[in-house]
Amino acid sequence: MSSGARWLVAAILLVLSRRRRRVTPVAKDEPEAAPTPARVTAPELPDRRAENVVLLLLGLGTACAVAFVVVYALDRLPRQTQLLGLSLGLAFAFLAAASVVVGRRVVSQHEREEPYAEPEHLEEQEAVVLVAQESASRFTRKKLVVLAAGGAGTALGAALIAPALSLGPAFDMESLYRTPWRRGVRLLDEDGRAYLAESIEPETFYTAYPEGAPREQLGAPLVLVRLEPGRLELPAERRGWAPGGILAYSKICTHAGCAISLYRKPLFEPTEPRPALVCPCHYSTFDPATGGTVLFGPAGRPLPQLPLAVGERGELRAGGHFSGPVGPSWWGVRLRGAR
């Protein structure tokens, strides 16, 4: 710190001493510059003090820039990012200060006046119109030509845009309905072990993935919860979808495609909100007891439910397809019938 202060004092002294030395020669300089042509910019008396400040600031800026290089060159420095940012930021700050002092103190502060440009060039406008008109004057069937040119332009435009369709299966709406879940597909946990029905506990939630299918697709992940069978109010056609009260829903929110990673599970129901599956993006809230209907939030469609079955060894398997398309909605999406 003290060495920095000494540097500062030295720099100031240097600047001030240079000033003293140079006062006379510059004054002498002026008359000898007579042969120069008439000034374009307005003359003004120089501001020596401001100039000194500029020199000082430039010096400080240089020091900071050098510090940046030094910090960069040093290896394994703690807080290196901070020191780099500080040195470079300060270097620019000193340059900024120097420029502002130059702009406001050192150089001439004379304003200039200037007429605004002519708003219009009527003559030229007219000439352009005439050229355009005259150029077309030898066509005899103008309308037809314009129509034909328009047609050609449109067709060519379409032709040039057509290859864009290679970007993706634009008309394959079926791809949006497809999920890896079929009757009999086993539910696996994060580590690839099959879920057993008896291992699903009522106080928590589980994420399940389809056996033998990629996990990184909207149709793959499920959220599993177990409720008391007696309190389920599933639609009539979903009888038998929840063996032992185990419910499987798509883990992807029907509003905007985020993962349903919240399970609101009251510890003591008489004083707390009922169990719900919640999406953390826009807080759409779904009721697992009633088939994934929306309790709160912007989702416009219930969470698709997957029917479950229990296999011979007690493992959980899909009992069929989802109750509806998985993930966010699109124009014309059918509310039922994922596959």
């Binding site: 502002v100 106080e203 609101r264 599970k265 707390e272 919640v278």
Partner: protein, 249 residues
């Protein structure tokens, strides 16, 4: 086998008759319990599960779960976090300075533990856990509510608290209990090793790697936007005002 059966019988016998094991601690605990807990949790921790007239002091709307079998694990958690006692049974409990002293808490814990056979206070060993496994588990099970850096978040109808002040023991307890709207995980879903990993991860979120500088809360864009407008834009508009002002020569 016969020995363990015998032990079990002994424990359940002791649990069934708390008065019999009336060592001083549980006795004092019972006194405190009757004063501060019984209006909602009922005499002898039987719970108040149907709505009725206010039964407690200060017209508390009495309603609370049975405490038989919750054990020391649960009681210790609720008292040391200051979650209990709760003014209104319908409120979400929030962390605060516990209104009881340490010896008082120990007494109540001993008393409630004696009401039924429940789990003891867990002893997590974060040093045995794996940090990256903890991050993975936390992302899957916890981040949806508590946010990935454990700064807390929203559940519709409730709040998932920041875990900044949660001790390793409390994190382990909360995972097993599932206080308020939180799901609870038994050792079948999250075994003790995984529990250690999660606890280790949560501990690490208290001192995360902030090599970028001032962390502004580890919540991402909201404070970043505030810094953009309140620091960067204010500074630059200040510069503009300075530069754009007419100079007075």
């Amino acid at each position: 086998m016969p020995i363990s059966l015998l032990a079990l019988a002994a424990v359940s016998f002791a649990a069934a008759s708390p008065a019999a094991g009336a060592d001083g601690l549980a006795g004092r605990g019972k006194e405190l319990y009757s004063k501060s807990c019984a209006s909602c949790h009922g005499p002898d921790g039987r719970g108040v599960t149907t709505q009725g007239a206010p039964t407690g002091a200060g017209n508390v709307r009495a309603l609370g779960p049975s405490l038989r079998g919750v054990g020391a694990l649960s009681t210790d958690f609720y008292l040391r976090t200051g979650y209990m006692p709760l003014r209104d049974a319908r409120d979400q409990p929030h962390r605060r300075k516990p209104p009881f002293t340490d010896p008082q808490i120990s007494a109540i814990v001993a008393y409630v533990a004696s009401l039924g056979s429940g789990p003891a206070v867990p002893r997590p060993h974060p040093e045995r856990g794996s940090l990256s496994r903890g991050l993975q588990l936390f992302t899957e099970h916890c981040a949806g509510c508590h946010q990935i850096a454990a700064v807390g978040g929203v559940v519709t109808g409730g709040l998932a608290p920041s875990l900044r002040h949660a001790t390793p023991v409390q994190v382990a307890q909360a995972i097993r209990i599932g206080p308020y709207l939180m799901p609870s995980s038994s050792a079948r879903q999250i075994d003790d090793r995984d529990l250690d990993s999660i606890v280790r991860y949560v501990e690490s979120t208290k001192h995360p790697e902030d090599r970028g500088g001032w962390a502004i809360g580890h919540v991402g864009p909201v404070p970043e936007g505030l810094v953009t407008w309140l620091i960067a834009v204010v500074a630059l508009v200040g510069v503009a005002v300075l530069v754009g002002k007419r100079a007075r020569p």
